[in-house]
């Protein structure tokens, strides 16, 4: 039908359409007739729905060209073994079967097709390639790539589908904004009134579209740099959407908090990027074409050996995954000259990678771990994991559809997605960290959810908790389990958020559960769809039958992995115990929410009387999502969803041998997980039923008054409702110090640097003063002295100038006499005086005196 090369194009269309939508919608304020115009919403829905169609088409095309190998009945028995294990067992033999392998892409460019079974299937591995090159420096290249495997396709389909539902829902939910004079009852102006503003319907949809674009870019990303780019864009969209009610201080603060917390994570991400970039010299996940400038597919397609006269296949370089791990999925640990453990990089054909001088290229094991931790720090920020979880509950300031899309189904899932996508680069230490972070997060968030009373906050904490589960699953080696939960969670959490949105809409923006109760009579569709979500997240099932909601399957898979991991590494038993307990707590607080809101008697009659079921445009998405929340995981680990996901599982995930030099933990193999599966499922189910039962007893039946319990455990209650004091702690630890340091910096500028300059300038002025005095006193003084003395000498001679003629004559006479005396008394004779006299020929008789002198 479509050729495999159409797949990236389909996804690109699905990816770029929302961007186009954004570009048009953001100016809708100009081209729309008035603020009551719904065109922008229609456009947004059309874009994302078309995106969904394209994604589905891409998935379908991909299925055709892989011969639906992922879903083949043998796919489990053999697909699992044959596709991931056989890679480990007989690497280099069964080239094409290990379709999930990342290290062999280039090989396909050269290798003859030697596998009859797959000969007619054109797609042999992840499709990788380049859309567009951003910049190139020597051998370094940064580009917008794609990396398409079944995980990408599933994520694309899921994101576009849920986004379509949420967009639809939002056209109803946001309809209050369709006015020229929106009154915001939460904002008070100085003159005591409420805040009025024009509606911002179109702007909401513009940002939703931009968000979808960013999220899809993140999913399709073929290199970690591109992930980072869209990671940030997702962050900024989240910023805009959380702060949608810009006039609310709490909203803008929450938006800032979300963005900055994410940036803290991104700081780690950046460090990870730097390490990878420096040591690997590429960001690309899979094989890439280093010469690519425009659109091109580098690998993933079966390439026939070039015939005579045909152009050879493009040169293909090994990507990150292939460099870090061989085709057996193991790190090549070695010692460098100093005895430090290093990881040797490999090429596609499993030979070692050499640099220009012929040395082995390697990266110290520690740095690979740091890189992994850094990237995971980004995931912590984005997925609101401990210790950066505090932004997510505050992010509930945004409109509810935003919470549903951004903060449950997609953006926060991005962290988990990246952790899974980047799995091959994680060392055992990183995985263990991931597991523990997930474990702590799951528990902490669940405990806070117990005491939260805001319906959206409960859901927010449950999101954090469930994300912790996913991280835990990935950390203990349950790659497929974590992602499985990601998908199922996306469905039921978006459902629950939308349902809560429907409640909030129906109750005229009342979010406090203590004011609700008995609402199921007023809004049955909302109540029962919500119940489906609650059952799903609680992980309930009927024991002994395959009847189970999606959450059961996925959570079961995670718990099974955790149990197997605990068996393999008994010292890490907490990784099993805590999630099990959390599973019980989850069931408890979710049913608490449902009973509190929908069951029992109305507690606030004002709210109850005015509430109403939502319009059809909002309930339809609820019903669709409820069906999917219940059934998307049908078949569990034998079902199509799980198989599709695990088709992309990195080689060697199941049984990653502990690296000899740094062994700490052993990851359980698939068999080990399988062996404990039923046991784990039973434990999980017991916990879930326990939680549900308690919730029913307390909130449904009322055997125990929650208020009493609250009084009994008031300190614990305060501690929990203060969210474990994280906000206070961060305020003291980071926010205030930053402000203090920044004021220091300013003061340093003002006092020290400028102070020094001012000191210099004052010093210069001082020196100038001294200089002036020197000039005036010494230099000018000397000159003046000379002048003065000359003057005074002149003055003293004035006395002689009497003006009396006779006196002058006397002076002349006396002076002449004096001169005579002088001349004749002191210079009577001398050569100088004799010489002129010799000229005068004086006769001896007339002038006797010379005669006398000559004697």
């Amino acid at each position: 039908m479509f050729s495999p090369t159409a797949i990236p194009k389909f996804l690109a269309v699905a990816w770029l359409l929302p961007l186009l939508g954004f570009a048009v919608e953001i100016f809708a304020g100009r081209w729309q007739r008035d603020r009551k115009d719904r065109t922008a919403a229609g456009l947004a829905v059309a874009c994302i729905a078309t995106g969904f169609v394209c994604s589905a088409l891409a998935l379908f095309t991909w299925g055709i060209h892989t011969g639906w190998a992922a879903l083949a009945p043998s796919a489990h028995g053999e697909g699992h073994h044959g596709e991931s294990h056989s890679a480990a067992h007989d690497a280099g033999h069964d080239e094409h079967a290990k379709a999930d392998d990342h290290g062999h892409d280039a090989e396909h460019a050269k290798a003859e097709s030697n596998d009859e079974a797959h000969a007619d299937h054109a797609i042999t591995g992840p499709l990788t390639g380049t859309f567009y090159t951003l910049a190139r420096f020597g051998s370094l290249q940064l580009s917008i790539d794609f990396y398409i495997d079944s995980l990408t396709l599933v994520m694309f389909t899921m994101v576009t589908f849920i986004a379509t539902c949420i967009h639809l829902f939002a056209t109803g939910y946001m309809s209050e904004e369709l006015t020229d004079d929106y009154v915001d009852h939460q904002v008070h102006t100085r003159n005591g009134g409420h805040f009025h503003r024009p509606g911002r319907f179109y702007r909401f949809f513009a940002f939703l579209s931009l968000f979808c674009f960013s999220m899809l870019g993140l999913v399709i990303a073929g290199n970690i740099f591109m992930v980072f780019v869209f990671w940030e864009l997702v962050g900024v969209c989240s910023y805009f959407l959380i702060g949608f009610y810009v006039e609310r201080k709490s909203a803008s603060t929450a938006a800032n908090k979300a963005f900055i917390m994410n940036r803290v994570g991104d700081f780690g991400f950046l460090i990870g990027l730097m390490v990878l970039w420096t040591y690997f010299g590429t960001f690309s996940f899979g094989a890439y074409n280093p010469e690519a400038t425009g659109y091109g597919i580098a690998s993933g397609l079966k390439v026939e050996a070039p015939h005579e006269g045909e152009e050879a296949a493009p040169t293909v370089a090994t990507g990150l995954f292939g460099m870090a791990r061989g085709s057996d999925g193991q790190l090549r640990i070695d010692q460098d000259v100093d005895g430090v453990a290093t990881v040797v990089m490999t090429q596609a054909d499993d030979t070692d990678l050499l640099d220009a001088e012929g040395n082995h290229r390697m990266i110290p094991y520690v740095l690979l771990t740091i890189a992994g931790l850094g990237i995971f720090a980004g995931c912590i920020g984005k997925s609101a994991q401990f210790p950066l979880q505090t932004w997510l509950p505050d992010a509930m300031e945004g409109p509810t559809p935003v919470s549903a899309l951004v903060h449950s189904a997609t953006m926060v899932a991005a962290g988990v997605y990246l952790a899974a996508r980047f799995y091959p680069m994680f060392t055992h230490e990183v995985l263990l960290t991931i597991a523990y972070i997930g474990c702590i997060t799951a528990f902490v968030a669940a405990t806070i959810a117990i005491v939260a009373t805001d319906i959206k906050k409960v859901l927010a904490y449950s999101t954090i908790s469930q994300l912790g589960y996913m991280m835990l699953g990935i950390g203990v080696g349950g790659w497929g389990a974590g992602l499985f939960h990601l998908i199922t969670h996306a469905f039921f959490k978006s459902l629950m958020f939308l349902a809560s949105g429907s409640v909030i809409y129906g109750c005229h923006h009342e979010q406090e559960m203590p004011k609700m109760g008995g609402l199921w009579r007023k809004m049955p569709i909302t109540a029962f769809t919500m119940l489906a979500g609650v059952i799903a997240i609680a992980g309930l099932a009927i024991p002994g039958t395959p009847i189970a909601f999606s959450g059961f399957h996925s959570k079961d898979a995670i718990v099974a992995n955790a149990l197997a991991f605990t068996y393999a590494n008994p010292s890490h038993f907490l990784l099993f115990v805590v999630p099990l307990v959390t599973a019980g707590i989850t069931a408890f607080y979710m049913f608490r929410l449902w009973f509190y809101t929908f069951a029992g008697k109305p507690r606030d009659h004002h709210v109850y009387d005015h509430c109403h079921e939502s319009p059809r445009v909002m309930t339809t998405p609820l019903i669709v999502l409820a069906v999917l929340a219940a059934g998307c995981a049908i078949g569990g680990e034998e079902g199509p969803l799980y198989k599709l996901i695990t088709f992309s599982q990195p080689a060697g995930v199941d049984a990653m041998d502990p690296p000899p030099a740094v062994a700490q933990t052993t990851l359980p193999g698939h068999e080990a997980v399988h062996a404990v599966h039923s046991q784990a499922g039973m434990y999980a189910l017991i916990a879930a039923f326990l939680g549900t039962g308690i919730a029913w007893l307390v909130y449904g039946k009322g055997v125990l008054d929650p208020a009493d319990v609250k009084r009994q455990l008031s300190s614990l209650h305060t501690f929990l409702s203060e969210k474990w004091q994280f906000d206070t702690l961060y305020d003291v630890m980071f926010v205030r110090p930053v402000h203090v340091v920044s004021s220091w910096c300013t003061a340093f500028d003002r006092v020290v640097i400028d102070g020094f300059l001012h000191f210099l300038s004052r010093l210069t002025i001082k020196v100038a003063h001294v200089d002036r005095r020197f000039d005036e006193g010494v230099v000018d003084g000397f000159v003046n002295l000379m002048a003065d003395s000359t003057y005074s000498v002149g003055r003293s001679f004035r006395v002689l100038q009497t003006g009396k003629l006779r006196q002058y004559v006397m002076f002349i006479a006396v002076s002449v006499v004096f001169l005579f005396v002088l001349v004749f008394a002191f210079f009577p004779r001398g050569s100088s005086t004799s010489a002129p006299e010799a000229d005068v020929k004086v006769s001896s008789r007339v002038v006797p005196r010379p005669e006398v002198n000559r004697d």
Binding site: L134, G138, A255, I271, S743, C745, D749
Partner: protein
């Protein structure tokens, strides 16, 4: 058009315009404004024409003009363009054009203002185009005086202080440069030819050499001179004062172009003429760059004056420029660069960061100016709610501020990320320090946006004067935002101009360092 005419026209057209302004009647302000705008627009067109003539595949100097000027001293009227100066020339003429458009807010002594403005533009373009060190120095100083008067006459309340501070700082830098200039002149057999001097510095000329001591001293002198302009910590304190007091269009030029002269000087003169000195001081440069990033960001966070905040953000952003240029790691054994491609990336990133910062900071200052023209104050705590009152303005401002924040898809991101990514190869610690800037930058920019644009209502004085942007203001803001987006999405537009020159520069610096250090070793034996 032959290079002589073209380059001379680019440099001296604004100055000619300034002369022509004398002929206007003092009262014909509007006519004079349009005339000056036409001059800057024509200059911009000429630079676009220059870009068309420019062949980015060539790495050497192009469109070279070399005429004797002062024969006795061997000073030449020596001009040329390469991939390093080309983007900056475009940036200069663009920002000058936009600032001229923003100059309608100047009401006092319009004639004098426009003349000084145009002379300033001549000075800047002259610096970017000259290849003769003496000529470079002359233009460098020519730039200084108009700026002094522009701040000192049309500035804010403390304009004299700011103008003198600016003048003295820059003059001090100029003097250091002059000393270095003379050092080169007398060590090179009396030459001011930058290319020839660079060849000597890189040990390519028989019979002449700048020995390591000369190189180190000259580099330090030049570096301090250029670091003042950049500005780098701790010689940055003229910047906040100058910006706060300068009128809006002058702030735009100051941040958008003048700061780039520091970076350009380092890359055009300090590095090529003394590669040995540059390598010797590389760690200090990276350190200063990293400290500037963090320090500027911290200081920005504590400001309550809107313009001062943006000024400190410039200090922070220009830190990346310094950082990117200096990530030159060598193999101690043979002096060859280690991971040269990373250095190349850092260099390119630094150049790009200059362009990006030229766009984003000019935009930020313009945005501050727009609101200042209306409400006549800049106290961050007395804004709020502008999103309601001036939606277009706020939207554009948020876009431009995000460009400054380094959001992907906007220009600031490319420069910052390229520089940061290339740093780890040089120093792990400093790379981490530099990377932590992303948190602080997000912190102060978002906080600013919150205080100014978000919130329910405007809290300060002159609320009644808040009117939507007029067409002229919108045109400026849109131009800047569009450039920010284009550069962010298609950085290759500039990278392809720079590529071959940058490659050649890196290669010659690397070889130059090796040549000089080899000569030193031979001498020691």
């Amino acid at each position: 058009m032959d290079p002589l005419t073209l380059l001379t026209a680019i440099i001296f057209l604004p100055a000619a315009g300034a002369l022509a302004l004398v002929a206007f009647d003092r009262k014909a302000e509007e006519t004079m404004r349009y005339f000056a705008l036409a001059i800057t627009a024509a200059t911009f067109m000429l630079t676009l024409f220059l870009w068309r003539e420019f062949d980015s595949a060539k790495s050497e100097m192009q469109l070279v003009v070399n005429l004797p000027w002062i024969r006795q001293w061997n000073v030449n009227y020596y001009l040329g363009v390469d991939g390093i100066s080309m983007p900056l020339i475009l940036l200069t003429s663009l920002i000058c054009l936009l600032s001229m458009m923003a100059s309608w807010s100047i009401k006092k002594q319009v004639q004098g203002y426009l003349m000084l403005f145009l002379i300033l533009e001549t000075g800047i373009l002259g610096v970017f185009l000259s290849l003769d060190f003496f000529l470079f120095y002359v233009f460098w100083e020519v730039m200084l005086l108009p700026m002094y008067f522009l701040i000192g006459i049309w500035g804010g309340p403390r304009k004299e202080y700011a103008a003198i501070k600016f003048f003295l700082y820059t003059l001090a830098g100029g003097v250091l440069m002059l000393i270095a200039l003379l050092m080169f002149y007398f060590n090179s057999g009396r030459s001011f030819d930058l290319l020839h001097l660079a060849a000597i510095g890189q040990g390519k000329v028989e019979g002449f050499a700048f020995n390591p001591t000369v190189q180190i001293i000259a580099f330090i002198l030049l570096f301090i001179g250029f670091a003042i302009k950049l500005p780098a910590f701790p010689v940055h304190t003229w910047l906040p004062d100058a910006h706060v007091e300068a009128p809006t269009p002058i702030s735009m030029i100051l941040a958008g172009i003048l700061l780039k002269l520091g970076g350009y000087g380092i890359i055009r003169i300090a590095f090529p003429l003394c590669p040995f000195g540059a390598q010797y001081a590389a760690y200090a440069l990276v350190l200063i760059g990293a400290v500037s990033i963090i320090y500027g960001a911290f200081a920005a966070m504590a400001q309550t004056d809107f313009k001062r905040l943006v000024a400190y953000s410039s200090v922070s952003h220009m830190g990346y420029v310094l950082l990117g240029m200096a990530v030159w790691k060598i193999n101690e054994a043979n002096g060859a660069a280690v991971g040269r491609d990373y250095w190349l990336m850092g260099m390119n990133g630094a150049m790009f960061q200059m362009l990006a910062h030229g766009i984003s900071s000019a935009g930020m200052f313009f945005m501050v100016g727009v609101i200042y023209d209306r409400v006549h104050h800049r106290d961050l705590n007395k804004f709020g709610g502008l999103m309601q009152l001036m939606p277009d303005y706020s939207g554009l401002a948020v876009g431009i501020f995000f460009a400054g924040l380094g959001l992907p898809g906007l220009c600031g991101f490319i420069g910052e990320i390229f520089v940061v990514l290339s740093t780890w190869n040089y120093s792990k610690t400093l790379a981490i320090v530099a990377a932590s800037g992303v948190i602080l930058t997000a912190g102060y920019i978002l906080w600013t946006i919150q205080r100014v644009y978000l919130g329910p209502e405007y809290k300060g004085p002159h609320a009644e004067d808040i009117t939507p942007m007029n067409g002229r203001e919108k045109a400026i803001a849109w131009t800047l935002l569009i450039f920010a987006i284009v550069l962010g999405v298609y950085p290759e537009m500039m990278f392809k101009v720079m590529r071959s020159s940058m490659d050649a520069l890196i290669v010659s610096l690397d070889a130059g360092y090796q040549a000089v250090s080899a000569a030193v070793e031979t001498a020691q034996k």
